[in-house]
Assembly symmetry: C2
Amino acid sequence: MEGLPGAPATGGSVVLRFGQAIFAAISLLCMCLDIEFYGSTAFCFLVTIMGLVIPWSLACALVDALSIYAKRPIHAHGIHSIILVGDWVLSYLSLAASCSVGSASDVLGASGQYSFCIGKVWARYQLGAAMAFLSWSLLFASFLFNLWLLPSL
Amino acid sequence: MEGLPGAPATGGSVVLRFGQAIFAAISLLCMCLDIEFYGSTAFCFLVTIMGLVIPWSLACALVDALSIYAKRPIHAHGIHSIILVGDWVLSYLSLAASCSVGSASDVLGASGQYSFCIGKVWARYQLGAAMAFLSWSLLFASFLFNLWLLPSL
């Protein structure tokens, strides 16, 4: 089962982790660069969560890369559980945040009457929400792979 | 561990399930009664999910009540797994839906410039989102109790 592509301590897992971090970073850039993201609670929520996903995913990628380099898969139940719980909590929060921003930007796009929504700024919020959703889907995939391997530890 | 209050086939679990169904029903009433909920995708999403939570929670309450009545706790691994996965999926979806509607109604309340948002209608959407969030929290509690008992089966 540990030969599963995407399982911890494989190349697939490192790719998944980097994908999460990259999508989260693009989402963060869409939300923060040159526009006021602090106008609504939902936008602040997304920025906070994406700011947590990036270091988390990079740390997990580092753990995976180290265990590939040392040719020793993670057998410690404790580390595996921490990664599993972290992925689980962040997947809940990132899904909630991306849905929040998606719906808020949808309403903004339809009304176009918000003080900080001049021009096509809402389209950038929507792009940020889409990137956060992609980051969530990869985070969820990592979580499922970890969950699948839990009984074998 | 099966004496845990809130564990499946206990009175606590039945109370949790009824709580989920009641909060979901109030949320549904807030969203649907006399107002146009189909104006935004987020509102339709919440209505769909709450429409799924009510029969799910009532069915689980029935299973719990039957197993209390028959004085035989659920030992079948299959039924337990189905309940666990159902709770898990619905808890993800209901959190996402309640956050979506919460943020959309927040933006509506601040702008007040939406075709179907006359008067204080957005406050009702917010109440619907809050009730959905309460329903999610009880659903999540049920999920955690089920997850806790899984290894003992």
